[in-house]
């Protein structure tokens, strides 16, 4: 198709409102894809996605997107991180050196004014020493002045204290609060709640427990046994919201997956669609032109592939051979090229074959291949463009389907994979709707974008009814 024809088609396309909407959507998705590739390089994205927790340890688990707070009356907390290595975070550290031993005090003061409790509470340490590990005590000071000793421990070179899953602490706090209120607390109250709760009767029911707002402080007093010893610490008060898209069960920022899902979905879909359409067209043209044996052979091949159950075989291959998404693409193409499209195109080519200008080409001595590629295929090409565009959607969803069945690429973040994670972790039952809705929304959008443009193209290239 010449440039002029392209421009003409484009103009015709713009006459349809639906096509304009579709094109806008596609521009948006393309924009996302380009942004993803530029902002987060491929390797980094894969690494962040695969390593999950290790890389995203500072992120909360299953956090909703931050903008959710806009709609809620009870404001969900953001994550508060204080790191002695980062003075701006508000962490304070002081070492008083003595003759043989030194005393270290680390303070983490912060304000907590949210309406809901943190999801988790973790402390991370790095310590420098040669033989004797430093020894610390960790205290917690609530706005009402109550000081609670959390733990005493030695600090190894890298160490962590998962406060919210410390059972002993939980029991201790439950006892303490029960005494304070004068009644036994009837449920197992976790530390991240008891350390932040208003200490009155409201604490007796998990539905009524309130956040005590105000200034909190964690104080770590430690003894350094060696001259060169040092401790650095990071307190993470995990919130319940994170970023633009929230996080999943492995603390991964869903934005990575959502952004990168775009170029992957689009390239998978477009590559599959174009390869299959073109290969089918060439096969059909050869079959129609050469006739006889070539035709019969190709017809039988088409029937064979029609009986071969596409998805089950694809799944079987994916199960047994653990494929990456690009190998999967090749398999999909290989299984599809003898599909039903070949029959339709062949019918078209049989008609084209009879056209007088084909005969003319033969008489002036044009070779078979030349006729197929220069004369027959260009004639049929416009008719297949609509179905080419439309089928992109189905391939995007094919990849999503495989992911939902747990057979997608195990490494690469795709929208389908996110939905699969959400589904298997019971997102719908637990109310983590955003986890399912966000990738679904993008899938639907992409698919509709291609569909709207494809349908409009179909009306342009294949007008079946002349308007009266």
């Amino acid at each position: 198709m010449s440039v002029k024809q392209l421009k003409e088609t484009f103009k015709q396309l713009l006459a349809y409102r639906s096509a304009i909407v579709g094109l806008c959507i596609l521009c948006f998705i393309m924009g996302l894809s380009i942004y993803a590739v530029i902002a987060i390089p491929y390797e980094e994205a894969i690494r962040a996605w695969r390593l999950g927790e290790d890389v995203s340890i500072n992120n909360p688990r299953n956090a909703s997107p931050s903008w959710v707070n806009f709609f809620l009356k009870k404001k969900l907390p953001e994550t508060i991180i204080m790191d002695t290595l980062k003075k701006e975070s508000g962490a304070k550290k002081k070492i008083v050196e003595g003759e043989t031993i030194s005393v270290i005090r680390i303070e983490f003061p912060f304000e907590f004014n949210y309406d809901d409790f943190p999801s988790e509470l973790n402390l991370f340490f790095t310590a420098n020493y040669s033989e004797n590990a430093p020894y610390i005590t960790i205290d917690w000071i609530k706005p009402n002045g109550a000081t609670i000793r959390l733990k005493e421990m030695a600090v190894k070179k890298t160490d962590r204290y998962y406060i919210s899953i410390d059972d002993e602490l939980a029991k201790k706090l439950r006892l303490y609060l029960s005494e304070k209120v004068g009644q036994e607390i009837p449920y197992e109250i976790p530390p991240q709640i008891s350390l932040f709760a208003v200490e009155d009767e409201s604490i007796l029911k998990p539905e009524t427990v309130q956040v005590l707002k105000g200034k909190y402080k964690m104080v770590i007093d430690g003894i350094l046994f060696e001259k060169q010893s040092d401790i650095n610490s990071r307190l993470v008060v995990y919130g319940k919201v994170f970023g633009l898209a929230g996080t999943d069960h492995l603390r991964r920022d869903l934005m990575i997956g959502l952004l990168w899902g775009a170029p992957i979905a689009v390239s998978f879909g477009i590559l599959a669609s174009i390869s299959i359409s073109f290969l089918q067209m060439i096969i059909a043209a050869v079959s129609a032109w050469y006739g006889k044996w070539a035709d019969m052979l190709l017809q039988k091949a088409t029937e064979f592939f029609m009986i071969l159950p596409f998805l089950p075989i694809l799944m079987m291959i994916a199960i047994f051979y653990k494929l990456s998404i690009w190998v999967l693409l090749v398999v999909v193409i290989a299984l599809s090229i003898f599909g039903s499209g070949v029959k339709t195109y062949r019918a078209m080519f049989l008609q084209v074959k009879e056209l007088p200008y084909i005969e003319a080409a033969q008489t002036y001595g044009a070779g078979n291949l030349r006729i197929i590629f220069r004369y027959m295929i260009p004639k049929v090409l416009p008719t297949i463009i609509p179905s080419l565009v439309l089928s992109v959607s189905s391939f995007v969803f094919l990849e999503a389907a495989l992911a939902i069945l747990g057979l997608g690429d195990p490494v690469v973040p795709t929208w389908g994979k996110i939905i699969n994670d959400a589904y298997t972790k019971g997102a719908l039952h637990q109310g983590y709707y955003y986890w399912v809705l966000e990738p679904s929304f993008l899938l639907v959008l992409t698919s509709l974008g291609f569909a709207l443009v494809g349908f409009a193209l179909d009306k342009i290239f294949n007008p079946k009814l002349s308007e009266m």
């Binding site: 639906s18 039988k300 029937e303 064979f304 029609m306 009986i307 071969l308 159950p309 596409f310 998805l311 089950p312 075989i313 799944m315 079987m316 291959i317 199960i319 047994f320 051979y321 039903s340 439309l390 959607s393 189905s394 969803f397 999503a400 389907a401 939902i404 069945l405 747990g406 057979l407 939905i419 589904y423 719908l428 039952h429 709707y433 399912v436 679904s440 899938l443 639907v444 698919s447 509709l448 291609f450 569909a451 709207l452 494809g454 349908f455 079946k464 009814l465």
Partner: protein, 358 residues
């Protein structure tokens, strides 16, 4: 009449032979693909080892032997058996045998999965699940077919009306597969509103009264059916309506009008009847497509059919079931294609008689 019947039988026979050949090739290809990872061999080896060990340990004649001795004996017998089965030879020689087993539906034993009745025979497991799939997807496809047929006819009479434009605008919804809508329908009707169940075949515990049981099944079928209706009814109605409009501008339709035939008769005999071949082609493609779409849909709705079975087998890597299922799918497709070819021949005399005719 006899001439027609003869031509018809010839056609049917030709199609049967072709399809049988194709099925054989397809299943053979499946076996080859499956074993390229050595899986079929692993299955056989594991099953053989299992059965020999069990028989040795349970055989009263060997009771007096120590565990060590029993193990040794079992190993020896196992080696003999392996040689006898030819598992020490390359795969190609054995693939023929597997092919025959698969064709006769002797599909072996599952590794992990069992049927509800306790059998591990793959054939039984699949047979147990097959009816559920057939029930759901036949219902879906027939419903879609009739809705779109009636809708298409209705719309073709009201060309360019508002309803027409509405259906055209909603057709792109079909780019999103039915199972995807399913997820959202579950979100809305099960999670949020709680009106309909999340999935499964019947309520748990299942009602004992057969009438209530049937009703329960119907209740569980609502969302899956609805999800496919949302996805595909618009485009199918639109396609049929376009067919009807195209076919109603044919010359013989005008001739029929000139003949003074009543409009209903014209619609039935001159528009509907000649349009049946492409409509049936479309139905064929949808039906075949739905066997595939079934897998994901069943997974989404936890519908206990062969689709979910496939998913479970994938999770457990239960290769005999996986291979057995692919075989069954090949058969299902072949049967579907065959039935549709026959219907095609019944409906279109050009196929029946062969275009060379007189």
């Amino acid at each position: 009449m006899r001439r027609e019947l003869f031509a018809f039988l010839k056609y049917a026979a030709k199609r049967t032979v072709t399809l049988i050949v194709v099925v054989i090739l397809a299943i053979y290809a499946t076996i080859l693909v499956a074993n390229m990872g050595g899986y079929v061999d692993e299955i056989i080896k594991a099953q053989t080892r299992d059965s020999i060990y069990t028989s040795v340990f349970q055989n009263p004649a060997y009771q007096h032997l120590s565990t060590e001795e029993k193990k040794q004996l079992a190993e020896q017998l196992y080696q003999i058996e392996i040689e006898a089965l030819g598992l020490d030879k390359p795969f190609i020689y054995r693939s023929g045998g597997y092919l025959i087993s698969a064709l006769s539906l002797n599909l072996g034993r599952a590794i992990y999965l069992t049927s509800d009745s306790g059998s591990t025979a793959v054939r039984n497991i699949i047979a147990e699940r097959l009816p559920a799939t057939i029930l759901l997807f036949t219902t879906i496809n027939l419903t879609l077919f009739f809705i779109s047929l009636v809708g298409g006819l209705f719309l073709s009479r009201k060309y360019a009306s508002k309803l027409d434009k509405a259906v055209v605008t909603l057709s792109p919804l079909s780019s999103i597969p039915g199972w995807f809508y399913g997820i959202f329908l579950i979100l809305i009707f099960a999670a949020w509103l709680g009106w309909l169940p999340y999935g499964g075949l019947v309520d748990v515990p299942p009602p004992t009264n057969p009438f209530d049981y049937a009703l329960s099944i119907l209740k569980h079928m609502v969302l899956p059916i609805f999800s496919w209706l949302v996805a595909y009814s618009f485009i199918q109605t639109y396609t049929k309506r376009t067919f009807f409009l195209m076919f109603s501008s044919e010359d013989y339709v005008e001739m029929a009008k000139a003949k003074g035939l009543p409009p209903r008769l014209i619609e039935r005999r001159y528009i509907l009847k000649p349009t049946l071949p492409p409509i049936i082609t479309e139905f064929a493609l949808t039906l075949i497509g739905s066997w595939m779409g079934a897998i994901v849909t069943e997974r989404v709705f936890n519908w206990p059919g062969i689709g979910t079975l496939f998913y479970q087998a994938a999770v457990f890597m239960d290769s005999p079931v996986i291979i057995g299922e692919v075989t069954i799918y090949a058969y299902l497709l072949a049967i579907t294609v065959f039935i549709l070819d026959i219907v095609y021949a019944i409906v279109d005399p050009r196929i029946r008689i062969g275009v060379s005719g007189a």
